[in-house]
Amino acid sequence: MIYDTLIAPFADFEFMRRALVGSLALALGAPPVGVFLMLRRMSLIGDAMAHAILPGAAIGFLLAGLSLFAMAGGGLIAGLLIAFGAGLIARATLLKEDASLAAFFLISLALGVTIVSVKGSNVDLLHFLFGSVLAIDDPTLMLIVSITSVSLLALALIWRPLVLECVDPGYLRSVSRAGGPAHIAFLALVVLNLVGGFQALGTLLAVGIMMLPAVISRFWARDITTMIGVAIVCAAISGYAGLLVSYHANLPSGPAIILVAGVLYALSVVFGPVGGLLWLALPQRHLEA
């Protein structure tokens, strides 16, 4: 019975195994990036970047059809262009970075939807927006796993300047020039992980596996290393449980994964030991010292 519910779907079907490996790889790469986005108060930037990827992927689709590398490459180029473009305009004019990014991603989104609707069918559009974790083939799996590896390595390399730029940017500026390059590398990582995620979850939900576990981790940990650990575990649980739910209840898999993360989020808001609602509501005697 337990075997049938929890293990059999993966033992019996290859597409479920692929989907699981893909989700776990995503769970390893995206949440650490999400934790940094959250700590830098850029939680919604991921969402904007996800929209920005769409026209690149659509142009890739236009040129080469449903080809993985054309779409991923296009998405990557579009995402990086928009991240740097918005950054440049923010530095050169009086616009703040979030405002210039908002302008860029809205234009980009409109462009993307236009390209897809002129050239493709509604099915294609749905694939773009919501992905299909159950249709992951070997090349896609390789892409996701490579992106995760690159992402974790790069994060280890830029860890110190990234942390320091969040806590004390003035000090970082006084001891090192690494702040700017680290910021750019970090934005590139955001784009990279979204491109990995959108194969499986679609452009709209790829942000979910990045941000929801990160937000959840805030309720369970007080230091950044533990937060990243919690976020990865949450994302992995969401991937596994989401696939099971989608298999047994016959639901679309991408949204199911994110909804499981949503349930974890709701539980954390209530029960999380670091500032959860329950602990705030419980009357606790203050300590002696």
Partner: protein, 246 residues
Amino acid sequence: MPELLFHNLTLGYERHPAVHHLSGAVEKGALVAVVGPNGAGKSTLFKGIVGFIKPLAGSIERNGLDTHDIAYLPQIADIDRSFPISVYDMVAMGLWRRRGLFGGIGNKDHVAIEAAIAAVGLTGFEQRTIGTLSGGQMQRMLFARLLLQDAKLIVLDEPFTAIDAKTSADLLNLVRRWHSEQPTVLAALHDIDLVKASFPQSLLLAREPVAWGATRDVLTAENLNKARRMCEAFDEHAEACAVEAA
């Protein structure tokens, strides 16, 4: 050779001078107080020394000093106190100059970090997150980080403002200890008695330099009054300055 040389230095914002025609030298190992009313240009001078802003005219000569030889404690540290980082890790960042982006932190470094935390009286706070510190404890932590930086020039912008007497006395002792170990120290201060007691040299600034030299000659009643009278506001319609650039 002097550590810092100001050549007819003018610093400011949008062409308006905040420090006007400052010339002079800071000797290696000197302990200099920078005194002056609010808006006198103390912070601006420090930002110029650290290299955060470029001179409008004139120049600063930093003899043999690289940017990372200078430790700078700003008046309002731009610190995100909600960030989940421990006091220990924050202090350890003082090792940046020696360990850089990737260098490991060895046993010797751990001893140095513990010693710095003990020197500022924060032993027992190592694992606390920075959000739980009081204002004075925060300042102690930043001093511990400064200790580890091992800088040749230390620039402190109003380090004792909003800090109680006990904490300022402790931190001032650290500054005196630095002085005996020979880094150059520049500190912006408002407490005239404290300056007279502990700082051999002073620069009295009121946008223009009013006096610079031995503290007892600089901080006279006459000079302080003169500094107080100098106006603070920029004149929006000021003409271009006629004083010849050096």
